[in-house]
Amino acid sequence: MMKFPELKHIATILLAVLLFASCEDYNDLDTGVVETDQVDMTTYAAVGNSLTAGLQSGALYESAQEFSFPALVARAAKVNDFEQPMVSDPGIGGLIQITDIIQGSITRAPADEGQPLNAGLNRPYNNLGIPGALTADYLNADGNLLSRSQSNPFYELVLRSALQDPATANIHSQLEALQPTLVSFYLGNNDILQYATSGGIAPFTAPSQFQNDYSQAINAVNSLDSSPAILVYTIPDVTTIPFLTSVGPQLSSNLMEQGVPQIVVQKSFIEGNPLFPEGNSDPVEQISTSELENPDESLVTQTAQDILPLIGTSAADPSAPDDAVEAIQQVWIDLLLSAGAISEAEAEALAENQEQLEQTLDQFLIGQYEQTFGSAQAQAFASSWNDETNDVGPYDFDQPFALSPDNPMHNQFVLDGDEITISNNVVSSYNSTIQAQGATIIDANGIFADIVSAGSITVNGVTLAPEIGSFFSFDGVHPSSRGYALLAKETIEILKTELGAEELRDIDISEVPQGIPVVNEN
């Protein structure tokens, strides 16, 4: 059907020809920074840890930093001078790179291969996320920031010269210099995360301490001359990350096939406390069977992957490969070393002497018990442990690994039921603190819990499941670019609904490239 443009249309066109025939763009886009009565996004500072920095797949690197959630929020607000401490690919931290995506084989880039790209910026970065940072680091409340920076290069990367002066060696000094109009404050994950990923061995920040550190930090942000709008983020449940959930179910089904219903695992001693009133002091309870199919009972860490095939290995079995026996013992020796219980020379000697190693471990365990419950109770424990007629103890590597109470799976590879309870209680206590600050809350915990309970969510046509390669990057702890995009999207949603920033651009998760780190042979 033939259709002619209306005459008016033709006249407009003629006019357009005359007026615009040579200019390139018809009109300007409004590129002004989003600003409302409640929030001015001109100067946005993001305080946090690796989740704010945009770390993924084990490293902080440029191609991931581009999609950090604060960078995505800043772009959506049309902020064009949002500076981050960019690091060239493959970054700092040892990027996990896929060598075969079908087989699931990986390799790790050298930890320090990436180079800082804008270390010369003559003002603080807007993204002040320091991977590994604790809540105490905001004001350096515990005075240990400098010592932490000795073993963690990210403090130096983000804070740079501020580290030279004890007065400015904290995150707050950066905000004082920036005088931000909007602050996203997302600290607290690392105060509990390492406890969970170490199978309950590493310490966590006590909830009362966390409350002090956190409220002081928020008070300091509130007292800035720029009186910024503040967004605080709740802490997701650390026991639902793939680092702890991906290995167990696979292991469980493998063991079931072999007719092994459970493995035995060494547990931690726990004094009764508000987080876990019962405590854990019964000698028999030190070694427990672990029902792997029940995630409330035990979670196997991703770091256990290498040791799992050795289940059932016995030093007394002549057919057992030597390196399997050695590998099991070496993990114990490393544990003793890192606890400072033995020297390097002793470590080498123990590797050659099974009996000596067993005895050293017996003493170490009794020593730990004594530290926790005092010497009086330790004596009773020691006699029970060393009594070979009891089911539990002493160590004996001639027994099958992880199947005998005398040769248990190492504590650091399993977060057991008690430790899960403690971890959950810590997180919920932290979150009460965070929610009590009077700041605008972004419920990262709730968002993540919804994904976990539903199994996955689909946003902008992209399905995100709480698994590696989907919501999570390949380290099993940190989100992928699209996972971060979801966090950015939720942040924008709250900025719109609670702070009236309606002009913010929406984020379409499908527009964010997957950016899977790979090593290619060609």
Partner: protein, 421 residues
């Protein structure tokens, strides 16, 4: 078996929107009238514009020339996932030389045969390697060369005025396609390059009718059939996982559209002609671009489960029309000087959701000027200039490849000669 990593939604779709751009600039004289030439057509270039017009070409005619097309496009993204809002990115400045050549021989009064060579589809776009839309396209090119033998015949006088008819065989003799884009699914990014050449000639036909009931008015009508263009060549993957992609051969076919023109020319005086053409393009023939690969690849399956050897890019073009208005003024001021002017309004065949940077198409307005001067009785020099300004096109559809604002203009100077022996 459950995959180790839950990775899905790898897409590898090749876009060749570029094929959606016809080049109507097949003769320098017609260029001056912006292609409103189907009724007036009376020289060897009638082979393209209306083979019936060939009947009016006397003796031996040789027409040659070239149009130099310089498109200029800017893109400003309105999404912010990949870069700052409103950042202007300019397409690389390229100039495409589009040649044309026609020869005709008058066998007898009212019967002329001829041969034309022209390029009705053939342009390219190139953006910076690291530009924001690199996952859509960095570089795309298409070229088609047609050879068109034709014949024009004046029907015996029935007493209803002059009636001319014509027909030709349109042979797609040579052609190539190429596209290169980044694969941002991976870090570091990979690249995909597809290059193909025409497998075998494609055939079609064109027919025409020209009717002059009275001296004052000429009607013209022409129809060109569609032509199937089959390309095959190489698909090359750079910096991508071997377990997903392999360098292999690939092939595709594009249904170049049919078109027809209905035209009326009015001759108020011996010297002046004003012509209006309605041009219809059957672009709905271009419903999808399917690429077939010689080897199946796992990377082509969004679920990474079953190797695939085909990708399909839905194009779903619309049939469109163009309105072309042109005028010619002969022996203006001095003998042998002809002046021309033209104006058109083009509708784009590409729906918003299908617009991508291989060809940022929009409805367009164009104006043209042309001049011919007969320097010798046998030799005329022709020149023309067309200016194209596309309407600003804002892509907002979330399903679209790249959302933002495109602005395009193009300069098309042309020069040629006409020999009448």
């Amino acid at each position: 078996m459950r995959k180790v990593f839950l990775t899905a939604f790898l897409f590898l779709i090749t876009s060749m929107t570029l094929a959606g751009q016809d080049i109507y600039e097949a003769g320098v004289r017609a260029n001056g009238m912006l292609g409103a030439y189907t009724a007036l057509a009376n020289d060897a270039s009638s082979i393209f514009y209306n083979p019936a017009g060939l009947a009016k070409a006397n003796g031996i005619e040789v027409i040659g020339g070239a149009t130099f097309i310089s498109p200029r496009t800017t893109f400003r993204n309105t999404t912010t996932e990949l870069g700052p809002y409103g950042l202007e990115q300019k397409m690389d400045k390229q100039t495409f030389t589009i040649p044309n050549f026609y020869g005709s021989y008058q066998i007898q009064e009212g019967l002329t045969a001829g041969l034309g060579v022209y390029v009705p589809f053939g342009l390219g776009t190139r953006w910076d390697d690291d530009w924001i839309g690199r996952a859509s396209s960095i570089e795309a090119n298409i070229e088609t060369v047609f050879i068109n033998p034709a014949i024009g015949y004046t029907l015996p006088d029935f007493g209803i005025g002059d009636v001319h008819i014509g027909a030709g065989l349109t042979i797609l003799a040579s052609g190539s396609v190429q596209q290169r884009r980044a694969i941002t699914t991976f870090v570091p990014e990979g690249e995909f390059n597809l290059e193909g050449t025409l497998d075998s000639p494609g055939y079609g036909y064109n027919i025409g009718l020209k009717y002059e009931p009275v001296d004052l008015i000429t009607f013209g009508f022409t129809y060109r059939s569609g032509v199937k263009a089959e390309f095959s060549g190489d698909a090359e993957f750079t910096n991508t996982p071997d377990e997903l992609f392999t360098n292999t051969g690939g092939s595709t076919s594009i249904d170049l559209p049919a078109s027809f023109v209905g035209a009326i020319a009015v001759h108020p005086s011996e010297q002046l002609t004003v012509e209006f053409d309605y041009v219809w393009w059957g672009w709905s023939s271009f419903d999808a671009l399917v690429i077939n690969f010689d080897e199946a690849m796992l990377g082509l399956d969004p679920q990474l489960e079953q190797p695939q050897d085909q990708t399909t890019n839905i194009r779903d073009y619309k049939d469109v029309y163009q309105l072309r208005l042109g005028s010619e003024y002969r022996d203006a001021f001095v003998d042998g000087l002809t002046l021309r002017a033209g104006f058109t309004y083009d509708k784009t065949p590409i729906r918003e959701v299908r617009v991508d940077p291989t060809l940022p198409e929009a409805d367009r307005i164009q104006w043209a000027l042309g001049v011919s001067y007969t320097v010798l009785p046998e030799l005329t020099i022709d020149a023309g200039y067309i200016h194209i300004r596309a309407n600003e096109r804002t892509i907002e559809d979330p399903e679209a490849d790249l959302r933002g604002v495109y602005n395009t203009l193009a300069y098309l100077p042309s020069i040629g000669f006409t020999l009448k022996l």
